[in-house]
Symmetry: C4
């Protein structure tokens, strides 16, 4: 096995001018939740499994007792209507562990995007605010100044100097390295407390993405998850003895 | 010396359709205890020493004052009866330190298994429960769904979603990477508190393995070790001032 | 992308016997502040962007919403007067994360210095004292014994055994590796508390560098920043309830 | 610069059947103190500087204000009398930072030993006991069983199962890797508290080495240093308010 290994699990699909969308684990798991939900909703097809020696040495156990080596996965979806475009979707169990591995992985992902002529990239993540968010907004950052104006039309916002620390990990790197290669890219960051997985924030991100891709996304499952998390958050607040309406800060969970 | 170096210490043995069994250090040292005990019991022959730059830079000192560089070791054993099969057994001082090293090592181990046509792999480890276990069960996870049913016949059990964190380290990786190469593999995980080395859990694992390999394993030495550890655990509990029958949690030792 | 990638953003400039000056992030950000201020003041031209897989996987967000991959940047400036020399200036977002990366990066930087025949190197940094400094002095260390005497004339000082821990990072390595290649080099270290970014210390360093390069440097911006930091330091002291004139130690901030 | 770079600072010496002696930084700095003292005492000549990207990115500042990149250094000494043998001596600022780097460095050091036909290796270090030692003994471990007996004649001792953790770092690795290459090697470990640099322990080690090499070693400087350290240790004990004769444990210092 190379440092990164690609395994095609279907025949290489023929895609026409696809949009590339990444959602890997990160703050509030916003990006991963959004892309996984999108994959389920549109019934996208897995075509590549990506393995790397810079992922943890770990297998997960499936419901039937079999193991699966941790990986990243590429899905594709073919446009059904005139106003839609083909999609490539990326999600996975982990981001690379080391800085060098992060760069290697982002380069490999861009190679695949290039191979399928996906010159427009969207990366999805969370923007951790450290306090509860009633109505999460979706911030954006882009490779081109002109894209900022365009994304505002779809409901994303832009606040100068936010996030102050920039964007760390695959969502940032795919844009940064992509820009050097001539890709057009946008990162959508759903506001989130950052303390719990945040389906509400993922939903906000998908609401923007829906307008760009013109695909129908059934948000019911995400809304259900969001309610479950809200319930857990309330339980935690009560355990802390903090009245529900006053609590602004939650304890970190994962 | 390469990143990984193999040193044959006997002539390359001729093995017929051998079973490969791994037991390296890990939770409760269950896997290592089990394989070491098996090696002693059946008088297996060491044939490969494996050295790696991803092991700690360390030598151990033998009883006669000589040093030995930390390593992993392969043993073989030839079937004596019709219902037995040749065995390759792997144990060692350490697992690789880095994630990358873990992958490299697992690949090299699979190379050796392939070279000797050992297409069936068993990896042994502990499943840390965080509390004392009176009668440790042996969980299993496999490369193939059909194997789960088979292993249940030998006394292993399977509980959905356990272990929740999957399997980390060589025991997981050999199965995960092995599956990609077409190996059939099973991981046996003996329940253990995870606080002390656990010969009782190792014994439970060997009781399952005995039925698969049809070798006779003298468990007396493991039982003696188990009693010693039980004595130490009781001492620790008393030092903590916790009455024996009430204590559920032990302090972490090693 | 290689481990280190150079991207020329202008035509390769023709420089005559240039002086090379490095100021990357470090203690009190003294070196980075000094070189950035020098670049602004003399309107130097960026000609190389340097990217490395040993920088964090991160982009920063520009005021217009576009992203920039973290990097180091080389600027040049052509002498305007007889008593001046061409300059190459290096600053950046980060130093390399790993020890190996630090060496790789320093070697690459020296390659560039060699390519442009810059055989005289100045590296700028802070010398953290752990207490407030009213009038920061500028210490020096050099590749040649004769240079120490020369630098004293320009206002730098030399105290035996200081800094006791030597010089860590790019400022030290460029001199250490440079010396092995035959470069002449000097490190200027502005005294600083090390608790806050320190424009006052950067100003002290530039006051020495001014005499060496014979360039005019408008220090107004640095002086303004110095006042802002002093204000913040006073606020912090008051928050701690420590009367202004008695406080010697500040809390660490960044 | 390669991962490891050798720089000959004299012509390659012609040595006859030399003994190789290593003393790098470690517990109580026993090995480094011993070899440095030996080098000074017999006026050995530096002939190789070894640089590595796995050393910290750091320069030290010499008394005259010049910098020196951190390194390891090889010295040689030619036998003056019939009962003496040529010596190669190794000391340095640091050991390699990473596990992989430790292996790489040990292999390179063995290459040099081989090149000069030094097939007998002595590695020097400390054996940290965690309490004060009035009369430090010198333990040994070897590549060959026959060597243990020989070393006892020179005043070294051997205690079964000590050190229980084996030998970590260059002193262990040179023996472990050396053994695989056919070197004869012995590690001498001076007992030490491990809390402070320990010239008394280094002296004990040199007293054994003196009998093996038949060189005269003036121990006055080490004895003076030992008194200084004893004074500091007493000061520390008093600061802790512990009466001198009762204190067994010192606080960790360096």
């Amino acid at each position: 096995m190379e440092f990164i290994t690609l395994k095609y699990v279907t025949k290489k699909p023929k895609l026409k001018n696809p949009i590339f969308i990444e959602g890997l684990p990160g703050i509030g798991n916003v990006g991963k939740l959004a892309v996984e939900h999108l994959i389920d909703s549109i019934k996208a097809t897995k075509f590549i499994e990506l393995y790397s020696k810079d992922f943890p040495p770990q297998v997960f156990i499936n419901p039937n007792g079999t193991v699966t080596l941790v990986n990243n996965e590429f899905y594709y979806w073919k446009a059904k209507k005139r106003n839609q475009r083909d999609l490539i979707l990326l999600t996975g169990d982990y981001q690379a562990l080391s800085s060098n591995g992060q760069y290697e992985l982002a380069e490999k992902i861009l190679d695949i995007a290039e191979e399928f002529n996906a010159n427009e990239i969207f990366t999805l993540g969370g923007y951790g605010l450290g306090h509860e968010v009633k109505e999460p907004k979706v911030l954006c950052a882009t490779t081109d100044g002109s894209l900022v104006k365009k994304m505002k039309k779809y409901g994303a916002i832009f606040r100068k100097n936010e996030p102050g620390g920039g964007i760390v990990g695959a969502s940032g790197l795919l844009l940064g390295l992509g820009k050097l290669r001539g890709f057009k890219g946008t990162c959508f960051m759903g506001e989130t407390s950052g303390y719990l997985v945040d389906p509400k924030s993922a939903k906000a991100v998908l609401n923007v993405l829906k307008k760009i891709t013109n695909v129908e996304i059934n948000l019911a499952a995400l809304e259900k998850k969001a309610k479950e998390i809200e319930y857990i958050a309330n339980q935690l607040r009560e355990m802390e003895g903090v009245p529900k309406e006053k609590s602004e800060e939650l304890k970190y969970i994962g």
